[in-house]
């Protein structure tokens, strides 16, 4: 078990390192000169040259990468050329925002998906099942941002129950946070929930075909009971994997949702900084996003291992 843990962590570290290299390589070919953006219109060539030197853009890529990496291990994401402020601090606060958003989105998704999926499976050949899986299909087919726009028009503009966008400020009460959270979380979660529901359904269907479910029935457990006692835990194993992937997808879905609801999370930060060619920031953001995805996978991996003794054995 210990060995397997260390092994996993080593692999994880390796993957992250590889990812960081890819990110750096990819972004260092971006057109648009950060130095120029920093200086604005009509800066003279030597001003630019000076600015570049100041930003260390004149040094070889490898050196720049190593420097960046060196900073990262000390938690220093570098200082933005455009805003002149340290990237790390802002990343932190933006990430927190996005994390809250995604967390609540995932919560919504799960709350939607599990009952929907299970019912759709248990009523597979009955009208209810068809209805449920049908509705989840429709849910998937709606673009997230469109769902967001519609939610805003109805609940913010027409009914004025919730703010149309924005985020709570430090110091505001929890109520304010909730108010700002409801619509985005719905927009994010309902769509992902529909996706998740499909997987829950097929996982439960698979489980219901298992021999040991038949054994459970033969023991005298009612179908529902058998499903609760034996089925769901088994179904959870594959669903976990998907759930992990979904979280990753949401992380990116958040980019769009944050734009729709003008939430200043990681996603909107990404768009801003891409637009201003704020390389150091973009690198940081993409790295954080990718890191998050990888981390999620790792956690899912570990959770599964703890749920499934066979995997525990294998490792």
């Amino acid at each position: 078990m210990i060995v397997s843990m260390t092994r996993r962590l080593l692999v994880f570290a390796g993957t992250v390192l590889a990812a960081s290299a890819v990110i750096f390589g990819l972004l260092s070919v971006l057109p648009g000169d950060p130095a120029e953006v920093a200086l604005g219109l009509g800066a003279s060539p030597d001003e630019l040259a000076a600015q570049r030197a100041e930003m260390g853009l004149d040094r070889p890529l490898a050196a720049q990468y190593l420097q960046w990496l060196g900073g990262l291990v000390q938690g220093d994401f570098g200082t933005s050329a455009v805003t002149g402020t340290p990237v790390g601090a802002e990343l932190g606060s933006r990430l927190a925002t996005t994390a809250v958003l995604i967390g609540s989105g995932m919560a919504v998704a799960v709350v939607v998906a599990v009952p929907l999926g299970v019912l759709a499976a248990t009523h597979q050949r009955r009208p209810l099942g068809a209805l449920l899986s049908g509705s989840s299909q429709v849910g998937i087919a709606i673009p997230g941002f469109l769902a967001g726009l519609l939610l805003i028009t109805v609940f913010a503009v027409q009914l004025r129950w919730f703010p149309a966008g924005g985020w709570y400020r430090t110091g505001d009460g929890f109520g304010t946070l909730l108010g700002h959270l409801v619509l985005p979380a719905l927009a994010l979660g309902s769509v992902q929930g529909a996706v998740l529901a499909r997987y829950v359904r097929s996982a439960v269907l698979d489980v219901m075909r298992e021999d040991w479910m038949r054994t459970a029935r033969a023991k005298g457990l009612s179908p529902a009971r058998a499903l609760r006692r034996h089925g769901l835990r088994n179904a959870a194993v594959p669903v976990l994997t998907v759930g992990g992937v979904q979280l990753g997808v949401m992380l990116i879905g958040a980019v769009v949702i944050e734009r729709v609801f003008v939430i200043n999370g990681l996603g909107s930060m990404l768009l801003e900084r891409v637009a201003t060619r704020d390389m150091i920031a973009v690198q940081g953001i993409v790295l954080v996003l990718v890191f998050a995805v990888l981390l999620i996978n790792l956690v899912v991996d570990l959770v599964q291992t703890s749920v499934d003794p066979r995997l525990r054995e294998a490792s």
């Binding site: 993957t15 050949r125 990116i252 995805v293």
Partner: protein, 284 residues
């Protein structure tokens, strides 16, 4: 070494289920619209007619006109082309990259497999949309970049699927038989593996296609999608959101087009999955 066993269901013999029919129908509808738009659209979708801005449905324009005075119906038909193009190219790219990798990994096994899958994990960590945004910034936003990015972004999932499929095929005795008969890896790959994982790949493709259509919309919304004046459903949505109050129909039509297409693709994919899954036999 089990006891007598029942003959497996005759996959090929079964008639397609409702999912395939309905889904296929919807997709066919979109394809038809796209094809027709090649030769005929009610109006020319490109030129701006300031005089005819924002007309409601009716009066000469079946579904009304957009803020540029262009016929919405014509735009929708033309947009179908783009959506399909994006989907097809993205899926093609994903398949061309993902399937070979997956099959190689699955067939070679051991260290090579380990390595390929590690690489795949790294790739998996770059979601398609993120890739599209970054690549859009690198090579300039546009439908071309978007398609490729979405394709590359989807490739890892294809690699996964085809790998697991390949592993299953490789464990089958008919592969052992082929090797015992002196057939080489290539033959096994082409004659045994590919045909047997094709089902999986097609299902995955339909899913990826749907995702691509949705992503095109999202990208256009973020300004990384199709470049004007080329009509695209995504951009129609993006352009019309500020008219949501004054001219809601502008949002309704492209939204509906996207939803139905995706719905069709997913229904088709699920239908196909069930169709190919022997265990779904019972009750059908």
């Amino acid at each position: 070494m089990t006891g007598p066993q029942r003959t497996a269901p005759a996959t090929a013999a079964r008639r397609p289920n409702t999912g395939i029919l309905v889904g296929g129908g919807l997709v066919a509808l979109v394809v038809l619209a796209a094809l027709v738009s090649l030769v005929w659209t009610p109006h020319d979708p490109l030129p701006v007619v300031a005089a005819d801005r924002l007309l409601g449905p009716g009066d000469g324009y079946l579904l009304g006109t957009d803020p540029y005075g262009r016929d919405v119906l014509s735009l929708l038909m033309y947009g179908a082309r783009i959506s399909l193009l994006v989907g097809v190219v993205a899926v093609a790219v994903a398949v061309l990259i993902g399937v070979p990798v997956g099959v190689c990994a699955g067939m070679s096994g051991g260290r090579a497999d380990q390595f390929l899958m590690r690489v795949n994990d790294v790739a998996l960590a770059f979601p398609a949309l993120l890739l599209a945004i970054v690549l859009g910034a690198v090579f300039g936003a546009g439908v071309g970049t978007a398609m490729i990015a979405l394709g590359i972004g989807a490739a890892p999932s294809f690699a996964r699927v085809s790998r697991s499929g390949t592993l299953q095929v490789m464990s089958q005795e008919y592969v052992t038989a082929a090797r015992a008969a002196g057939r080489g890896r290539l033959f096994v790959a082409v004659r045994h593996v590919l045909p047997n994982i094709s089902g999986l790949v097609i299902v995955q493709s339909s899913v990826a296609f749907a995702i691509a259509v949705l992503s095109e919309a999202a990208l256009s919304y973020l300004g990384f999608g199709t470049v004007p004046p080329t009509p695209s459903w995504g951009r129609m949505l993006q352009e019309s959101q500020s008219y949501l109050a004054s001219a809601p129909h502008l949002v309704v039509w492209p939204g509906l087009a996207i939803a139905l297409t995706v719905l069709g693709l997913n229904l088709f994919g699920d239908g196909l999955r069930d169709h190919l899954d022997p265990r779904m036999e019972a009750g059908r």
